[in-house]
Every structure is written in structure tokens, then in C-alpha cells.
């Protein structure tokens, strides 16, 4: 085997063996614009029909600083052109303020997916509290 091919071979094996997250996060702003969301799937690229996880980070939409707010996250995925979504429900765990780990992700079909993230937050409104819900959808091509 030529030397350059051996090096390529070794590099590819290392790359395939690594269970590393995506080097560049998928990112978007919620509908209200108040929150920036970064998502890193692990492993990357996302494997077809195999489980993967997400690390989700929330940042203030104005200052860009990591969000310290106490929020509840819902994560799901949908295939707009198919009319159905992911067959599993996810579990979201807070790792630290503004950072969440999502398990239970699995894209069972090839095609265009839409990662749907909903953020619910309790806000004071005069004498009472209300739950404010914000959301975003990130396209992912598998």
C-alpha cells in the first residue's frame, strides 16, 4: 500500500473511531430572539438509525453571555416532508446553568430533519407568575 494511502487509512480510522461531537455547533435564534441556541450532536456526523446525543447551550440573545436563567427544555425532531417525526422521546438533563445534555435521539430515516427545541421559562408578571414559551427549529440533512 502506498505510504500516502496508509496515512489516509490511519487518519480515517481515527476519525471514524472517535465518538466526538460536531466541531462547529448548529446554531440559531429562538422565535422571540431572546435566546441564542447552540447544539452539538455526538457523534458527528449523525449516524443513520443509531442513537446519538446532543449538547445544547443557551446564550442571552442580547449580550451573548451564557444564559443563567432557570428554564425547561423540550427537544424533538420532525421530518417535514414525511409528515412524521422521531419515534422516541428524549430526556433532557441540565449539566450546568445554560447547558443541557439530551439523550434518546435517533434519526431512523435519511432525509431532511428539523430539530425542534422549545424553551419554557417562568416569569414574574406583577403579582403572579406566567410560563413563557419560546422555540426554534434547526434544519439537519441526514
Amino acid at each position: 500500500m502506498p505510504k500516502c494511502l496508509s496515512v489516509l487509512f490511519a487518519l480515517t480510522l481515527v476519525a471514524c473511531g472517535a465518538n466526538s461531537p460536531s466541531p462547529v455547533p448548529l446554531a440559531g435564534r429562538t422565535k422571540s430572539g431572546s435566546c441564542l441556541v447552540e447544539v452539538r450532536p455526538t457523534p458527528w456526523p449523525i449516524p443513520l438509525n443509531e442513537p446519538f446525543e446532543l449538547t445544547v447551550e443557551l446564550f442571552d440573545g442580547v449580550t451573548g453571555e451564557r444564559s443563567e436563567s432557570q428554564v425547561f427544555l423540550e427537544v424533538d425532531a420532525w421530518m417535514p416532508s414525511h409528515g412524521h417525526g422521531m419515534l422516541r422521546k428524549t430526556r433532557v438533563q441540565q449539566v450546568e446553568p445554560g447547558q443541557y445534555q439530551v439523550s434518546g435521539m435517533l434519526f431512523h430515516m435519511e432525509g431532511e430533519w428539523e430539530l425542534r427545541i422549545a424553551i419554557a421559562q417562568q416569569q414574574a408578571n406583577g403579582d403572579f407568575f406566567q410560563v413563557v414559551r419560546d422555540e426554534l427549529a434547526l434544519p439537519i440533512e441526514l
Binding site: C16, G17, N49, E50, P51, G83, L87, H108, M109, E110
Partner: protein, 437 residues
């Protein structure tokens, strides 16, 4: 997971380094890069271990499972074994639209080739392991019509089975203990006066647990055997090897017509959306509008409810996986209104031997299946308006239909090895083979 990705990388590298000859280039040029990647993902590797069954690789468990698989004495009338419907000579199915056990059942028999690769079992996925699947037909009143108490007595009273069981799982209860157990019995909570239920209710909780443990072990032995029903030596597998290595003989393992069918299957016809990966199945559930005469079938909707309620599921006390990560699939299970009318995508490996087709056996031939997807004439209405929107008529011409069928026939596996046949049948086949030498 890592293994399959490494294999894909290896495949791409080998393909790049070995495609020096023009014949290989010509074959490869029939496919786009994405189609090639999809085809290479069909390369079959060993199934993932099932941590809920600690005995799956045990030679004695496999032997015991093989004997139980072919043993008619597990049935209520002494005439039906697992193999009555899962006939190795017929692609591990029975050739019938609806299976016939002690009575005619409402289900079409699924094939068992490479069955251990599945994520869920039965058309509606109401079992999450091969061993818990194996238990249900034994007790189904229309399938084998037996019971867990009957299984216990059979294991204990047949010296060969008892010895094998003892080697794998430990000693069965002594005769004086077994005398307290009725000959037949199983839980039938929906029929409190059923003889099996009355017998079951006569046992203490501790006795019931002991019986359940022995019954689950019988299932684990059968699963250990069924895990051996595997083949990756179809003509298409050889062709895939050829794509990797450039070997001219392997590339010629399927006809030009079948190659064109593969290009359609993994390309324009988009069959690969559901029929992907090693099993040519996404192992999940869809409503593909199979013609039906009655109401919407519950399908996966009922399957999920039954799975969650099953004491032999991966979260149950009879599972051998006690780790923190146990039962991860069950934890993420989701039941939605879309599940009604959905059935599991069947594997297409060895599909030419497993007619009739679809969960209801609605189509007699592969040609009829292809025609269904080509026109959707007579298709059942979608269960939900927003169901599988990508399911639209393919409008195939006659040549394309022939190509798809030729591709499907290239997935035919060799006949099962003697080690998978009933002990007597294996001996007969071996004698015939020797005679022909």
C-alpha cells in the same frame, strides 16, 4: 455502532484503492456516491449482543434452544412447534397468508433470517428481545396453545432437556417440589375462570416467580439458537464485496438487471428510506397503506402498550441486564396517535423465499408488492392525514418493475446449514450430502 462506521470507511478506502480495472469502474458508475454509500451500509456484521440474555453465546443453551424450537410437546395439542410456522425450508416462514398453529391465527408469520439484528419483535413490536418474543407464541391460544407450567414439566421430565437446562441455568425443582405445580397454567387475567388462570392463581407468588424464571430461561435458550440463524452470503452480499474490492467475480454475482434494480432501490425509487442498513430495514414502524378489508388495525399502538406491560421486557426482573444503561430503548419509547396502523418494516434478506408479503400477507408475489408501490391502486387510506407523505406512486415502467424484482431476488440466502435444522432432519441432510459426494 463504531464498527459499522469503520467498515464503511474501510470500504470506501478499498474501493478507492482497488478500482483500477475498467469493469469495476463501469459497475461503480451505475451508482451515485450516495447510492454507493447506501449499498455499502448493507454489509452485514454480527448482531449487537443482547445484554438481557446472558446465555446467548452458550453452546449448551444453543443446543437446548434448538431442541425446544423443534419440539411439538411445548404446544397444547402436542402437534405445533416454533418450526411449524418458522420452517427453515421456506425461509423460516410457512408460505401462508395467516399462520396456523393449534388454530388459524390472525398474524402473518415473520421470517427469522438474521432475526437477532432486530430492535423490536413481532409486526407490532410488542417484544423488545428475542427471548421475550419466543415466549409469547408458546402461550398464545391460537399459536402453540401451551403454558409456562407445561414448559416447566417438559424441561424437567425429558432427561436430555433437563440435563442441558441444568448445565446452563442450574437445577430444576426436584420432583417433590414439582408435584405441587399443576400440569398446565399461565396468567389469563382477562378470563378469571379459565383453567390456566385458575391453576396459575393456585400458586404462591414465590412459586409463580420460580415458574416465570424457568420459562424465561426456556426463551433465552430458544433465542440463543435463533441468534445462529444468520447469513450474509447472498449474491447481493458478494456484489457489495465486489464494490469494495473490485473483484470481477464478485461484481458479476448479480445480473445487470438486478444492478439496475439496486440503483432504483437505493436511488430514485427511494425504497431505501425504510429498507436501509444491514437488514434492509430501518427496524421501525410505518403505515404503507397495505390494502385491508376492515377497520384500521391497531399495529404499533397496541404493540407499545403490550411491550410496556410485559413482565418479560428488558426492564423486568427476568432480564439479565442490571446495569444503569439497561432498558434504554424502553425508556425512550413514545406512543403517539401515529402508531395506529403502523407495522414493522420487514427485512428483505431472503425475501424471495418468504411469500406472501406485508404484515397481513396481502400480496402473493414480489411483483405484486412492486406493483403496490408503483401505483398504490387499491391501497388503504392513510390512517392519519399527515402520515408517511413520501409514499407516493412510483409510476414504474415494466422494465423498472422487473429490475426491482431481480434485485430483490439477488437477496436470496443459501439454504440453512444442518446445524440449524431439527436434529433428525440435520442427520438426514448430512446423509444425503455424503451420498452425493
Amino acid at each position: 455502532m463504531k464498527r459499522s462506521r469503520v467498515l464503511l470507511a474501510l470500504a470506501v478506502l478499498c474501493t478507492a484503492s482497488c478500482f483500477g480495472n475498467s469493469a469495476a469502474e463501469e459497475v461503480r458508475a451505475q451508482f451515485t456516491e450516495r447510492e454507493l454509500a447506501r449499498i455499502l451500509r448493507t454489509a452485514l456484521v454480527a448482531p449487537m449482543p443482547d445484554p438481557t440474555n446472558a446465555f446467548e453465546g452458550n453452546a449448551d443453551a444453543i443446543d437446548l434452544g434448538r431442541r425446544l424450537f423443534y419440539d411439538q410437546r411445548l404446544s397444547g395439542n402436542g402437534e405445533v412447534s416454533c418450526a411449524s410456522c418458522h420452517d427453515p425450508a421456506q425461509g423460516w416462514t410457512d408460505g401462508r397468508q395467516k399462520a396456523v398453529g393449534v388454530n388459524e391465527t390472525g398474524a402473518h408469520t415473520p421470517a427469522l433470517t438474521n432475526v437477532a439484528h432486530n430492535r423490536w419483535f413481532f409486526w407490532d413490536g410488542r417484544a423488545d428481545s428475542l427471548w421475550s418474543q419466543a415466549l409469547q407464541p408458546i402461550e398464545h391460544p391460537d399459536e402453540q396453545g401451551g403454558s409456562r407450567l407445561q414448559t416447566l414439566h417438559l424441561l424437567a421430565e425429558d432427561p436430555d432437556l433437563a440435563e442441558l437446562y441444568g448445565r446452563v441455568f442450574g437445577e430444576l425443582p426436584q420432583e417433590e417440589v414439582r408435584e405441587a405445580y399443576p400440569r398446565n397454567g399461565r396468567p389469563v387475567p382477562e378470563e378469571p375462570e379459565h383453567a390456566h388462570q385458575l391453576a396459575w392463581a393456585s400458586l404462591s407468588e414465590q412459586q409463580q416467580q420460580e415458574v416465570n424464571l424457568i420459562f424465561s430461561n426456556a426463551g433465552k435458550a430458544i433465542a440463543a439458537f435463533e441468534r445462529c440463524i444468520t447469513t450474509n452470503s447472498t449474491a447481493f452480499d458478494r456484489f457489495v464485496d465486489g464494490l469494495r474490492t473490485g473483484d470481477a467475480d464478485d461484481l458479476a454475482a448479480i445480473s445487470a438487471e438486478a444492478r439496475s434494480g439496486a440503483a432504483l432501490f437505493f436511488g430514485e425509487a427511494r425504497c431505501h428510506l425504510c429498507h436501509s442498513g444491514q437488514m434492509l430495514s430501518d427496524l421501525e414502524f410505518h403505515d404503507v397503506r397495505v390494502p385491508r378489508s376492515g377497520d384500521v388495525e391497531p399495529g404499533r399502538w397496541d404493540g407499545i402498550a403490550a411491550l410496556v406491560a410485559d413482565p418479560f421486557n428488558g426492564a423486568g426482573v427476568y432480564s439479565d441486564d442490571k446495569s444503569q444503561s439497561a432498558n434504554v430503548e424502553l425508556r425512550h419509547l413514545r406512543r403517539t396517535r401515529h402508531n395506529a396502523g403502523e407495522f414493522k418494516t420487514p427485512s428483505l434478506r431472503d425475501v424471495s423465499r418468504t411469500a406472501p408479503y406485508m404484515h397481513s400477507g396481502a400480496f402473493s408475489t414480489l411483483e405484486e408488492v412492486v406493483e403496490h408501490y408503483s401505483t398504490l391502486e387499491g391501497a388503504a387510506p392513510f390512517t392519519h392525514e399527515d402520515s408517511e407523505r413520501v409514499l407516493i406512486p412510483l409510476n414504474l415502467d415494466q422494465a423498472e418493475k422487473r429490475q426491482l424484482v431481480a434485485f430483490l431476488r439477488s437477496l436470496t440466502a443459501p439454504l440453512p446449514a444442518p446445524s440449524l435444522l431439527a436434529p433428525a432432519a440435520a442427520l438426514k441432510q448430512s446423509v444425503v450430502a455424503n451420498h452425493n459426494l
